[in-house]
Amino acid sequence: MIDFVAPTIDWAAVSPVLVVLAAGVLGVLLEALVPARARRSVQLVLTLGALAGALVAVALLWGRVQEAALSVVGGSYLLTPFGLGVQAVVVVCALLGVLVVADRPGGQDAFAPTAAAVPGSTYEEQARRAGLEQTEVYPLVLFATGGMMLFPATDDLVMLFIALEVLSLPLYVLCATARRRRLLSQEAAAKYFLLGSFASALLIFGVALLYGFAGSVRLGAIAEALAGQGASPLAGMDVLALAGVLLVVAGLLFKVGAAPFHAWTPDVYTGAPTPVTGFMAACTKAAAVGALVRFLFTLAEGMDAGTRHGVEVVLWTVALLTMVVGTVVGVVQTDIKRVLAYSSIAHAGFVLVALVGFSETGAAAVLFYLLAYGLATVGAFAVVTVVRERLTTPVPDAEHGAASAASDTLLGEATHLAQWAGVGRKAPWLTAAFALFLLSMAGIPLTAGFIAKFGAFSAAVDAGAWPLAVAGVVASAVAVFFYVRVIVLMVLTPPADELVPDGGAPDGGAPEAAGTDAGPDAGAAAHAVGGGAPTGTLTAAPAATRTVVTVVTTPGPAALVVALCAAGVLLLGLLPASVLDLAGQAAKFVP
């Protein structure tokens, strides 16, 4: 038997991922050992520290990677400049995302006190009143981030698969943990899970076919086999290879959220707790696109003209379809989170446009695009978390016959577009930031989104895919419509929500969800009000109860995130030079 040779591991190269995952593990341990009172702060420090550490590690590795890609354990972990670039984007977005997660607008975070409790049960109510918090969220976010960082940094398809699962599984769980609209949230998690696991099954079957074709799961080896240099007995079966490539691409496109694999996106984005949605939208997309680039660009080296053409046709179709679906369906949405979800689909299409040429220009453009999109998205969802419904109950004072000060209870997010009317008057700065994010997503010049789209379309034109670029341009024009519609609503339309009476759910789309949502909280309101008041007051009160839209102005981490993202979006729009340089450096994707 051959002697076993222990591999030498370049720990420095793995450090960004390692720091994050180790912190995740440590977080679980802390969750078990630290008393509940201190958990949140400890977890927060750990999480932010780990992500900051990962960022530092990425920065330290940057120079080293430029010289040569770092390969660990024979390519199971392969750090290319591009991979490192994606890791940087992921970490930055995750850092911002975690801050939003940590925010407690109105004193409560966005997560269920105990996600396992049956919605509406006594037990849940007890937990809520005890002020419990599900601090497991932080380790979960860390695990997901770790998976995302691993995703684009491997040469090994099975590692790719595992990274996919490591990033997906925590996200499935996170989706189910919303504090309000829990049924919606659980449903979103179930859908995400079922479709997600379906996609990963497709991916792994594709991997199996590629393994059969090349006799290896290393991308490099597969590319060689495609080029006809492999020694595999099945190397002649190009059908196997093409089917494998397409299945893997399908799995990856699912995570990217490209049509026709986009069906989960709107539902999941709507149902998941908003901070998680922001995190997920920004980071997952970045990681998945990174992996897609890694996979396709490497294999494209070895493909013959026919296979390559086949893959390109698929990419073209998907990109076109994605842009069309994202923009056209997005136009008719009435829920802000769904609007953002469809926008994310459309963006997936734009990113795909950038990479059809399999060129370094494309890779650089993709990186910049991911960063620009990530900042805008995290920021936008952070804004969504603070625009809330408020239940106002004027408490009539029976003795004096006059209504005293109204008592307020903060409800869930006001996600229906109609409720966003006139938000601009309530919170001008927040609205300005949100408008900036939307304009950036629309690709209006002087924002990051424009430079990003410019890069993406230039890459496409450069690769000769100018019809795709034109289509992208047209899609952007349509997309502008729905972004601008939201801005109009916020800035130009007077608020109309004062007229919405309580009782009927203000959110017409989801009566049941709103019921379970408002139910316990309304009860809580009654409790809060009824501290020492006679019951008569309580029974009289609901008649005057109204739901209004409010913007939580308490300065929390989310406000910081919004400010940072807005600054980032503007800065990337006005002075993108240095970041573009970095993206250019990171565009080398093949060792």
């Binding site: 008057r425 304009l439 209006i444 010049p445 002087l446 424009f450 430079i451 410019f454 890069g455 379309f457 230039s458 034109v461 450069d462 100018w466 670029a469 034109v470 341009v473 047209v474 952007s476 024009a477 502008v480 419509f481 601008v484 109009v488 800035v491 130009l492 002075l575 993108p576 030079a577 573009l580 340089d581 993206a583 250019g584």
Partner: protein, 562 residues
Amino acid sequence: MTFPWLTALIVWPLLAALATALTGVGRGRPAATGTGAGRFGGTAARVVALAGALVEVLLLVGAFTAFDTTRAGEHQLAETHDWIPAIGASYAVGVDGVGLLLVALSVGLVPLVILAAWREQGGDDSRLRRYLAVVLVLEAFMVAVFAARDVFLFYVLFEAMLIPAYFLIGGFGQGAQRRYAAVKFLLYSLAGGLIMLVAVIALYLQVPAAERGPRTFLTENLTGLELGTTEGRLMFAAFFLAFAIKAPLVPVHSWLPDVAENATPGTSTLLVCVLDKVGTFGMLTLCLPLFPEASRWAAPFVIVLAVVSILYGAILAIGQSDLLRLVGYTSVSHFGFIVLGIFTFTSLGTSGSSLMMLNHGISTGALFLVAGFVIARHPARSQRIADYGGLRTVAPVLGGTFLVAALSAAALPGLATFVSEVMVFLGAFGRAPVAALVAVPAVVLAAVYVLLTYQRIFTGTVPAHLGGDAAREATDDGTPPLEDTVSRTREDAPVRDLDARERTVAGVLVGALLVLGLVPGLALRYVDAPGQVAVELVGESDPPPVLGAQPVDARPTEGSLS
């Protein structure tokens, strides 16, 4: 290093806008409208904005002094800094004569617009404050876009301008359909702009990869590229489409009347008189030099379009019942003239067009603003021409200024527009006599719509809701101005003549029309050389003189026409 006049001109309005917005800081005393007017009250915003705009005018004067008219064909006051080296874009500003005139137009009109808007926005101070701030932001963009010497920068500003413009139309308009108009405007412009984006990218990629540097996007670097015929024509088409939408040429003009109808007159002034000049300015400074071959190839089509625009705009203007919409259609007609002049490829036509851009701005601005004054006098602010009559008798100054402004739209000799229109005609006769001949009736049509409108509004009997015959007495007894909400619904509201503020606005514009009409040389010094440069760049030479016109360099001849 000389003083960066252009950068100052760009940055100052932004600062002024910020200052204007900041006057709203704090709750202020609760105003009647319920919205806080800010700690400094409502007037502060007006004063700050006006002062900012006036300082900007001073800066403009400085820029003029620094501009060397003997080299008007070259870009002067130039500044170039790296901006995004990775994609070859730089911050490069500089103006030739035409650019400078258009900058002047923007800077000059803004204080007038601010002054004209003094009592607008329904007495809502915070709304007015925002309006003024946005106007100032738009001013910065307009100056920057006329000064941009980098295609990428130009494009960025070209698109970025849409956002403030959109808010001006949709947010502060007065028409019932203002949001529809705003969206229409935005989508038209964006569609054109985005198609242009593809061409911008494609153009950039025509530069051989080895030669792409941090300043590739500079206009001079992109000029004279070896383009394939098809590529060149496609890119030309994309650029031209964007500019044609902006400077409304006929098939894609339909947003303009809607906007004119629904926006405030001030907004329309900025939009139609300045912003849309970006379109023709772009044709002149980008389409021609970048794609000479394609320009020559497309010239016949463009000329046809231009002529159609001229006639179509004029004819439709006659049929309009809405005053502002009518002004909008006259502009369509005028833009036709400008485009016609540019695509004659004669230095006479080109410089005539350049001049006409300036003159049209002043003339149409005057028309819009004065029309705004007219409308402000209607108790229900009706824009229907049929709702007016006999105003000449009750408001003679108003009638007079309107008449001058209207006649300038019809290019009456002695007014500024006449010079430029004649130059365009002369240029067109040299290159495309048929087109010129076909366009000539437009002059007659213009006279028709101008006079017809004047007649319907200012002559005849005063309708009852404008105060009827008793109006003259009522005007003098010091009743509060019509703008006040209290008197708005009164059936017998009297009509008073222009007050000092309005006289200032109208006076400046009418004065400018007269001065430029009588001494066109003042402006011609700036447009002649760029016109020649443009013709050279497009690879044509001036045709032999036709119809006894003097050679191009005989500038005194042009002057003598006054």
